[in-house]
């Protein structure tokens, strides 16, 4: 009996360690090697937000620097490695170089791959109560009541069920995740958030790091 108890205790401890060794989230700001310099801030800027994809699993990682991406290893963008944990921050990734909050690089948001590598299947939903402030050819912007602009890019625009000035509440469907763009790109949602922020006594309207907020919202969803 005593040996059985000890064995059970050992199994629990080993299981716990295994779980720690295979985390679901890499820390904020730890971008893929040679893909830019991230913002290593654990601050959840949008603690009330709902996760912007209706259901999981969802995989946060770079569509550009991962397998099958324009700057990544050759292969199929539907590769299983792109649809696995842990998540990887890609705010400030090297796409451009003009973002004020980025030491190097300048990707304005986070890439999110839905559960399966299928376009026009998985719904992007309102992360906040607010209004549809902008609808373009590839993207929809939701303005929250405190003025944050939540942008959903690469949607299947034929699937979009909202129109400018519609009021939305958290979880309302917006459109399905796709890869709409001027050229062929991997299926993913580019999600970014812009809001006025006071830094050093000055107010600037900037894209803020969304990764920590997405982690928190994902944890709440699951």
């Amino acid at each position: 009996m005593r040996n059985k108890v000890l064995t059970a205790l050992a199994m629990v401890l080993v299981g716990t360690v295994t779980a720690q060794a295979e985390p679901r989230f890499e820390a904020p700001g730890y971008l893929l090697e040679n893909s830019g310099e991230g913002v290593k801030s654990p601050v959840v800027f949008f603690p009330e937000m709902r996760f912007p994809i209706e259901s999981g699993p969802v995989y946060a990682n770079s569509h550009a620097f991962s397998v099958g991406g324009a700057k990544g290893p050759e292969g199929d963008s539907c590769d299983a490695s792109n649809y696995s944990f842990p998540w990887r921050d890609n705010f400030c990734e090297l796409r451009r170089s003009d973002q004020p909050l980025c030491g190097a690089g300048g990707h304005t948001g986070q890439d999110l791959r839905p559960a399966t590598c299928e376009k026009s299947v998985h719904w992007a939903v309102a992360a906040t109560d607010g209004v549809i402030a902008h609808v373009g050819r590839f993207a929809v912007t939701v303005q929250s009541s405190d003025g944050a602009l939540h942008r959903y890019v690469h949607l299947d625009m034929d699937s979009v069920v909202v129109a400018p000035m519609d009021r939305v509440t958290k979880g309302d469907r917006i459109g399905t995740v796709s890869n709409s763009w001027l050229s062929e790109i991997p299926i993913h949602l580019h999600y970014d958030i812009k809001q006025p922020v006071q830094i050093g006594g000055q107010v600037h309207t900037l894209f803020l790091p969304p990764y920590s907020s997405l982690m928190a919202a994902y944890e709440k969803m699951n």
């Binding site: 005593r2 108890v5 000890l6 205790l9 050992a10 401890l13 080993v14 360690v17 295994t18 720690q20 060794a21 985390p23 989230f25 890499e26 820390a27 904020p28 801030s41 654990p42 601050v43 959840v44 800027f45 451009r96 003009d98 004020p100 909050l101 980025c102 030491g103 607010g130 209004v131 402030a133 902008h134 609808v135 373009g136 050819r137 590839f138 993207a139 912007t141 303005q143 929250s144 009541s145 405190d146 003025g147 944050a148 602009l149 942008r151 400018p164 000035m165 009021r167 809001q195 006025p196 922020v197 006071q198 830094i199 107010v203 600037h204 309207t205 900037l206 920590s212 928190a216 944890e219």
Partner: protein, 192 residues
């Protein structure tokens, strides 16, 4: 019982796994609960009223058309700024959320919006400003132009059907010119 367990071979396995686990966990992180406060700025209503009065005659037609919209009667706790007559645009769709508002213009080959807000995130120490922000910013499928007036923040967003070719999206000139036509709607320059 713990003392006995420590003496068993299983204890070695467990300790090894613990060490291995912590070593390989790397920078992974549990979800943090640190947040950044959001505050509402004070609005300089006197300056807004003066601005509205200065452009009232020139923008009378646009103001009256806007004020005829049902949605324009919703209380807005910041000055409502719209594109002026020189922009040559139609009357926008409009919605107020109290401390924020949005106006949307659908034009030939482009979409334009104005997002106004009086809320400001207070940056935590972990944010660093590596370079001075510019008013005009390319956002991939279009561009933004940001400005502060009367204590409020305004973001002009444009998207184009051909975002990499249409100079209204790729170059700052068009949004800069539009920003120059912004006016405060008379009757919307006072807190309701």
């Amino acid at each position: 019982m713990l003392k006995e367990f420590v003496k068993t071979p299983l204890a070695g396995v467990v300790v090894g796994a613990l060490v291995c686990g912590f070593l390989t966990a790397g920078p992974s992180l549990a979800v943090s609960n640190g947040t950044a406060p959001v505050v509402e700025n004070n609005i300089d209503w006197s300056a807004a009223e003066a601005s509205a009065a200065a452009t009232a005659e020139r923008e009378q037609t646009a103001s009256e058309a806007f004020l005829a919209l049902t949605s324009s009667t919703d209380a807005t706790a910041l000055p409502v700024m719209l594109f002026g007559v020189e922009a040559g645009l139609s009357i926008p769709a409009f919605v107020s959320q109290g401390s924020a508002y949005a106006a949307f213009y659908a034009e030939d080959g482009i979409q334009l919006s104005i997002s106004g807000s009086k809320a400001v995130v207070q940056a935590p120490d972990s944010l660093t400003l590596y370079r001075e922000p510019t008013a005009f910013e390319n956002i991939g499928d279009g561009a933004d132009y940001s400005l502060q007036r009367f204590g409020a923040s305004y973001t002009l967003r444009i998207t184009c059907h051909q975002p990499t070719e249409d100079t209204r999206c790729t170059q700052p000139d068009y949004l800069t010119e539009l920003a120059g036509t912004l006016f405060v709607v008379e009757g919307q320059a006072n807190e309701k």
